[in-house]
């Protein structure tokens, strides 16, 4: 591809990825035509009304009355960010960004503007910048627990876990509430305290704001995910169902429930759930999952449509920050574009040290047959002793390739013990690899016994 074309394409895809949701679908129809600039303010709010809409309107009224006051722009930005969550259309974040831009023009040092900007940067996966902005806000007002949430999130994503623990502890001590319990839950989960993670998320569910259905549903989905991590599928699915009752067609809950249905081999229901999720947010991973399910049940034409969409997003997805790690992992699992995948993973590793970045690098190095480097990376990924079957499975396969049978056996059996069905095929591969290892051990043990018998001469 010519550099210029490539650049245009990169910009295009980045814009789409940032805009997300429905904007993607709109963009697909306009490939090569428009530049996807965020619309000017004020904007009309289209489609389904959500609880954010009335706030958007009230913010627009406030701006109309007092265009030189920062509060209206802050409220508008916050409301657009909420709208983005409620619709899964991350295009609304661009409008939030525009509103914050106006707010900064009025007052460069307004506390709420800076804090909201930090949260927006988190949505954009610009974690280092988000951290700097949240710390700037923290210097202005060190006792606002909400801002410690942004600091915690940024530090977690960057892989500074001791810093994240400190920030989350500060947050929950300043004000225990659903938001701080949710951070506590995630940090416990990352550090292998599964029971503590479930417990904290149960409290987060109870404490959730009933006037924020999306937020309440979010907490239930994450409680379900923690329960899935200990193989409690039935309880987990009940949380997903509950989330869907509170916030119908919530893509996060639809996809989560679909995962349970796939594991239970209920593919018809899984397809239906993914179709509904995709109807709300055309994200590439859901499209691939749905395409594969279509393929499996023999609906080749339907599958092709999904793959075409994925190809479009994938074509230069590597250049965009938002999905890059996931695309790299996708290529690794498929065993294709391994060079490109490695470039992405290595670049990502230079800016982030979080365990999932380390895991992705490890798995991609492994697929590239660079086993000893993969070992260092997977050791980093396991530094918190996270009880994640996927990480442990990767570790098992890497240690098996290294010839460390003892560790490989331990990791693979740990992965399967946490959830014997953590992944339809990968858990089968894990089981098979574990059997091979055990067979090897028996064989060599048998050999040793046989020879000692000989030596003993009995």
């Amino acid at each position: 591809m010519q550099p210029l074309n490539k650049l245009v394409s990169v910009v295009m895809v980045s814009a789409i990825l940032v805009l997300g949701g429905f904007t993607i679908r709109r963009a697909i129809n306009q490939v090569g035509k428009s530049s996807n600039m965020p619309p000017a303010l004020p904007v009309a709010v289209n489609r389904v009304r959500t609880s954010a809409d009335a706030r958007i309107e009230s913010a627009q009224r406030a701006i109309e009355q007092s265009p030189n006051k920062v509060e209206g722009y802050n409220l508008l930005a916050a409301s657009f960010m909420q709208k983005a969550r409620e619709t899964s259309d991350f295009g609304f974040n661009a409008r939030a960004e525009a509103a914050l831009g106006r707010a900064f023009e009025v007052d460069r040092d307004n506390y709420d503007t800076i804090k909201l900007h930090a949260k927006l940067l988190l949505s954009y996966h610009r974690f280092a910048e988000a951290l700097r902005e949240a710390q700037r806000a923290g210097a202005l007002r060190p006792d606002d627990h909400d801002n410690y949430g942004a600091i915690t999130d940024a530090l977690v994503e960057l892989g500074d876990y001791p810093g994240a623990i400190e920030a989350a502890q500060k947050m929950v001590d300043l004000r225990p509430d659903s938001a701080s319990y949710a951070r506590v839950s995630y940090l416990r989960s990352l550090h292998g305290d599964v029971a503590g993670a479930i417990d904290a998320m149960r409290v987060a569910v109870k404490a959730a704001n009933p006037n924020d259905p999306e937020g309440a549903a979010w907490c239930r989905v994450h409680l379900g995910d923690e329960l899935m991590n200990v193989g409690k599928k039935r309880e987990a699915e009940r949380e997903y169902d509950s989330a869907l009752l509170i916030f119908p067609d919530y893509p996060l809950a639809l996809a989560a429930k679909a995962r349970v249905r796939v594991i239970e081999n209920d593919l018809t229901k899984a397809i239906e759930l993914y179709e509904r999720a995709l109807n709300r947010v055309p994200s590439p991973d859901i499209a691939i999952a749905l395409g594969d399910l279509y393929t499996k049940v023999g609906r080749a034409d339907d599958a092709k449509r999904q793959y075409e969409f994925v190809n479009f997003v994938e074509r230069d997805g590597a250049a965009s920050g938002t999905y890059s790690r996931q695309l790299a992992m996708l290529w690794a699992d498929r065993g294709e574009r391994l060079d490109e995948a490695l470039t992405i993973a290595q670049r990502e590793r230079t800016i982030r040290q979080d365990i999932y970045t380390c895991d992705a690098l490890a798995w991609i190095l492994f697929k590239n047959n660079r086993i000893s480097e993969a070992k260092s990376a997977i050791d980093e990924a396991l530094r918190l002793r996270t009880r994640d079957p996927r990480l442990l499975y990767h570790a098992g396969m890497i240690y098996k390739a290294l010839g460390d049978r003892q560790k490989a056996t331990q990791y693979l059996s740990d992965a399967l013990e946490i959830n014997s069905n953590f992944d339809l095929l990968q858990s089968d591969l894990a089981r098979r690899s574990l059997q091979e290892l055990q067979l090897d051990r028996k064989r060599s043990a048998g050999f040793v016994r046989a020879s000692s018998t000989q030596i003993g001469g009995k």
């Binding site: 623990i165 938001a179 417990d199 009933p210 999952a289």
Partner: protein, 513 residues
């Protein structure tokens, strides 16, 4: 040939299965949405622990003149149709009503309320109400919930009332437990004849002959939020013409009625309004437990262990109405909510020279009393001394000399059942605000006038329009009850009467995440 085809097909299926599952779980269950990293909810408001109003008054119901009623509300702006879980108290919150009877800003008597939700049918995700009997073939659909122990009340919440007397030295005395909160007023099919069938049976008599109720009520606070928060662009300053922004919303109420003598410093009924034990200070709080992010000895614990067992942190506090909204600056609201009345000296400057007074002056072009506003300090922070007004023996003074923001009630002033005024003291009715607060007291109008200096305590400014200010709303949308718990029947979630519910008030509030 056929075999090879089949094998290829199997391989292909396996490959797609690999693809499917790797994609489903590739980002791991921890990162289940490709569109974002793990983003916790943006809105951090905590309505379940948010105090909205506190009331304290001598009981006006016939035969109850020896009792004081204390009411505290939580969960602002409950949408009546807010299913499927509707609005319960939070099992993890410590709800408290506190009484200071010595004037040091520290609670001498505390009533604690802890809730526990049960699930009749834990396998159903329908929420508060579920046709469990119909599903089991043992009952019908309509009417669904006909009593507090109806099996179709799927998530009944019970509670325990504990009384702590600082002077008794005991940790606390469980006054009652296993009391049931009624379901929300869901609608005529699910909760028929709500008030008589479900709400009234949830009024329990306590061992000391007092009573208690916890459950949903109509939002009895009335205000034109838009007018007040729109830089005081009041639609009217009369008694009509404003918009009751809280109309149509419900709240969750805890109401407790106790004998007068159980609240006073002396432990007996005061001899008269100027007796040294006549005034009590009341406020309500909510607290949540903090916890260690990283627990010691992780990994070998059972799910059932007490994991979130750290100390309670107070996250909300409410004594006098509108103090946090109108007097305390935005950036100190969290600090105020976490603070105790005994440490209120840190907020004194906002009462001595309130921004609202300057705003009133600017907006209405009126003269306001100059700072320091000792009249406001008396109303909010020390109580009104004896002989500040001519006529009856009136005082709400309860102070050790430092400011403590509480709702002060003179329990020796008898209730006014013949001619109560919504304007309380300003309407010549000494049994109302700022002597405690009854459910119908128009605290918005009273406080606007008080801050503008339109009261007898500041004669120079006790002129129109200072003493006629108001938000144009003088009545609640739902009639109050003449009996305990006094706040009106909550709006039905399936109401067919009246205008469709508007959401303007939630949005009029400048709520930033």
């Amino acid at each position: 040939m056929r075999k090879s085809f089949r094998r290829n097909r199997v391989l292909f299926m396996l490959a797609s299965a690999a693809l499917i599952t790797s994609l489903l779980l590739a980002p791991t269950t921890r990162q289940s949405n490709a569109s974002s990293h793990r983003e916790a909810p943006l809105i951090t408001a905590d309505p379940l622990a948010d105090n909205t109003d506190t009331y304290a008054f001598r009981s006006t119901e016939a035969g109850r003149s020896g009792f004081v009623t204390l009411i505290a509300n939580w969960i602002p702006f409950e949408e009546p149709s807010g299913g499927p879980h509707f609005y319960k108290f939070d099992d993890t919150v410590l709800y408290e009503i506190k009484i200071d009877n010595t004037g040091d800003g520290r609670e001498d008597i505390t009533y604690q309320f802890r809730f526990t939700t049960k699930f009749v049918n834990p396998d159903i995700v329908l929420g508060m109400a579920s046709p469990n009997q119909a599903l089991a073939g043992t009952g019908g659909i309509e009417p669904l919930i006909t009593s507090l122990d109806d099996p179709d009340y799927n998530e009944p919440q019970t509670y325990t009332v504990t009384r702590i007397d600082k002077n008794s030295g005991k940790k606390g005395n469980v006054v009652a437990s296993g009391l049931v909160t009624p379901p929300n007023n869901i609608g005529e099919r699910t909760t028929p004849n709500y008030e008589t069938t479900l709400a009234q049976p949830a009024v329990y008599t306590l061992p000391n002959n007092g009573r208690v109720f916890a459950g949903q009520r109509d939002e009895g606070f009335y205000i034109d939020v838009g007018g007040v928060f729109d830089t005081l662009k009041l639609k009217s300053i009369g008694t009509t013409g404003g918009v009751d922004s809280t109309a149509g919303f419900n709240v969750n109420t805890i109401a407790i009625e106790v004998p007068i003598q159980s609240l006073t410093k002396s432990g007996s009924v005061p001899s008269g309004p100027t007796a040294s034990d006549a005034v009590i200070g009341v406020w309500a709080t909510s607290s949540r437990q903090t916890t260690r992010v990283i627990r010691p000895g992780v990994g070998r614990r059972d799910d059932n262990d007490e994991i979130n067992s750290g100390p309670f942190r107070q996250v909300s506090r409410l004594g006098e109405p509108l103090v946090n909204e109108v007097v305390i600056p935005l950036k100190l609201k969290d600090t105020f909510n976490a603070s105790e009345p005994e440490n209120d000296a840190q907020f004194a400057s906002f009462v001595v020279d309130p921004q609202l007074a300057q705003l009133l002056k600017a907006v209405f072009g009126i003269a306001v009393p100059p700072a320091p506003r000792n009249d406001l300090v008396q109303i909010f922070a020390t109580g009104i001394p004896v002989n500040a007004i001519t006529g009856p023996n009136y005082t709400t003074l309860l102070s050790d000399g430092t400011p403590h923001e509480m709702m002060r009630l003179n329990v020796a002033i008898p209730p006014n059942t013949s001619s109560p005024s919504r304007l309380g003291l300003l309407g010549g009715d000494v049994a109302g605000f700022p002597n405690g607060r009854r459910v119908f007291d128009d605290v918005v109008d009273i406080e606007l006038r008080a801050v503008a200096g339109g009261t007898p305590f500041t004669p120079a400014t006790n002129v129109a329009p200072n003493n006629t200010l108001g938000d144009g709303v003088a009545n609640n949308d739902v009639p109050f009850l003449t009996r305990f718990p006094y706040l009106g029947t909550p709006h039905s979630g399936n109401s067919t009467s009246g205008a469709p519910h508007q959401h303007h008030t939630i949005d009029a509030l400048p709520l930033l995440p």
